[in-house]
């Protein structure tokens, strides 16, 4: 893999997240080396989205630690973790639906903006310069994701597949190092998910990202992921390359039942 060898970008160490008596995630160890495109799969209710929420600081792990670039992030608030370079998309797209596509991306481009509130109020030269930069960057992102024709359109008016693309564009506009995609292909037809696979693959190499994705569409997962982790009832039951996972007994049992 490209980038700094040695320590992984993200590592979860014996992470447990319990809601009352229910362990949504139990003793999970997970390592993401820099530049990997990894998949997280498992039957419904296996705890996949909970893992995302733990990484993003939506939930606090009951025990265990989460390290991003060797620094602990568990217990930090979501926006701090986002500012450290983690971006995510949601299972159901959470766009700013009353705002335009351009504004959606502009909002995400704020992280590297040096204009203070005072600059904005006084409309200073610095504020104007930063606004221009943000606008250019945002337009470039829309262009890259072939969303330019929707720039002035409200996000809620977009077709579903384009909404998903916009959400990924918006996540990338924060310039993350780690991208978490929660079921990016959900609700897409086979052509759309095929195109999405290529998009994720491209984006990963172009932005030197590390990607972790949750997906039910096995074609997508097996097609692009280099490593796959399988969860069942919050426990990791398998980990490895797509080929190894495909033939793993415990995985087949988890998906199809014990007699299969």
């Amino acid at each position: 893999m490209s980038g700094g060898a040695g320590e992984p970008l993200l590592s979860l160490r014996r992470v447990t997240c319990a809601f009352g008596g229910l362990k949504a995630v139990a003793d999970l160890d997970l390592e993401l080396p820099r530049g990997t495109l990894a998949g997280l799969i498992g039957p419904n209710g296996a705890g996949k989205t909970t893992v995302f929420n733990l990484i993003m600081g939506v939930y606090r792990p009951t025990s265990g630690s989460i390290l991003l670039e060797a620094r602990p992030i568990e217990g930090r608030v979501t926006c701090t973790i986002a500012r450290r370079g983690v971006a995510r998309t949601f299972q159901n797209p959470r766009l700013f639906s009353e705002l335009t596509c351009l504004e959606n991306v502009q909002i995400a481009s704020h992280l590297h903006c040096g204009a203070t509130l005072g600059d904005s109020v006084l409309d200073t030269a610095r504020s104007r310069k930063e606004e221009r930069l943000i606008l250019e960057r945002s337009r470039a992102f829309l262009e890259e994701f072939r969303l330019t024709r929707y720039a002035g359109e409200k996000a809620r008016n977009l077709p579903y597949g384009d909404q998903r693309r916009l959400e990924i564009a918006r996540a990338l506009a924060t310039e993350p190092t780690l991208l978490l995609l929660d079921e990016p292909a959900a609700g897409m037809n086979p052509q759309e998910s095929e195109a999405l696979m290529h998009l994720i693959h491209d984006v990963r190499s172009r932005y030197r990202l590390t990607v972790l994705l949750i997906e039910h569409d096995m074609k997508v997962v097996m097609g692009i992921c280099e490593r796959i982790t399988v969860l069942d009832y919050g426990v990791k039951i398998a980990e490895g390359t797509p080929d190894a996972i495909r033939s793993d007994r415990r995985v087949i049992e988890a998906y199809l039942g014990e007699d299969a």
């Binding site: 926006c79 986002a82 909002i107 109020v121």
Partner: protein, 321 residues
């Protein structure tokens, strides 16, 4: 920079000229309505920042206004004669600077109150936040009612009348420019993101808590300024700052269109002028007023302008064909 200074000077000159013309050329009753319109425009624009742009729900705006009104009045009555040597009998020019200071002080005290009220917005949203702001507004009012130094239940007398249309219009312009510049900027978009989807905004690294408190602080500042202008204009009593006043401002921004600045200006103007225009109907006035509001909300639930703005470009396009 020079251009801006010139523009600023020109605005001040224009506002002053308008005031001079109207004060002589207009019946005092209409002049008074214009001043009240201006005060309500400041209140509506500032509340719009919290309720319309950031999507929080505050019904304590009258409380911020009261803080500004009473602190500035106390400053003028107790502080100004001692520190500035300006008495109620001094002319308007000598009094201008201390009055500006009083207004700014009122705004800053209200902003501090806004900071305190904004803090619970970290944990509360929707109805719960609304109740906190409501409670805050009432606490302020009742507290002032029991401070004898500012008149208590008798009302605060002896405040020199410094406010005229020029001051009010000037502050309208400042309020509008500040809030417009914020909305158009990276910070304004962060506020809009909070309104649209707080969880998504947070996941994009927007410091939602900080922004929510900031919007309370800025909004409260201008409410305090409006309060200061109010207390130097007319009889000051806590009855002017009941919960009904907050509701009135909310109705203005809902009517004009939440999130639209031109909507707030329109809503504030209509709702100040309408009760006066309906005076011919004497006793039935309030019934007609309420009925009009109901009809309007049924016809245009998003408010007169919705999210849109009346801009110069829009006006030109309409005028072109």
């Amino acid at each position: 920079m020079l251009r801006r200074l010139l523009l600023g000077a020109a605005t001040i000159g224009a506002v002053w000229a308008v005031d001079r013309i109207l004060v002589h050329g207009l019946n005092p009753y209409y002049y008074r309505i214009l001043v009240l319109c201006g005060l309500n425009v400041i209140l509506a624009l500032s509340l719009n920042l919290i309720n319309g742009v950031t999507g929080q729900f505050s019904i304590g705006h009258a409380g911020f206004m009261a803080v500004g009104a009473y602190t500035s009045a106390a400053f003028t009555v107790y502080g100004v004669p001692r520190w500035f040597g300006v008495t109620p009998e001094s002319g308007p020019l000598a009094a201008a600077l201390p009055f500006l200071a009083a207004t700014l002080l009122g705004g800053c005290c209200a902003a501090f109150a806004g900071f305190l009220v904004g803090l619970p917005s970290m944990r509360l949203r929707g109805d719960y936040l609304a109740i906190v702001t409501l409670g805050f507004g009432e606490i302020i009012r009742v507290a002032i009612l029991n401070i004898d130094a500012v008149g208590g239940a008798r009302g605060f007398a002896g405040i020199p009348q410094r406010t005229d249309l020029a001051w009010v219009l000037g502050w309208c312009v400042v309020t509008f420019l500040v809030i417009r510049n914020i909305i158009r900027s990276v910070h304004g978009r962060a506020l809009l993101a909070i309104r649209e989807d707080e969880i998504a905004a947070e996941a994009l690294g927007v410091r939602t808590t900080r922004y929510k408190v900031t919007s309370f602080v800025i909004s409260a500042f201008f409410a305090g300024v409006a309060g200061a202008l109010f207390s130097h204009y007319t009889y000051l009593h806590t009855n002017s700052f009941t919960f009904m006043k907050s509701i009135e401002v909310i109705v203005m921004i809902v009517l004009g269109g939440m999130g639209s600045l031109s909507g707030s200006i329109l809503g504030a103007t209509i709702l100040t002028a309408l009760p006066e225009a309906l005076r011919f109907a004497s006793a039935d006035r309030l019934i007609i007023y309420s009925a009009l509001l109901i009809v309007l909300m049924i016809a245009r639930p998003q408010g007169i302008l919705g999210h849109r703005e009346i801009t110069l470009r829009w006006l030109r396009r309409r005028g072109a064909p």
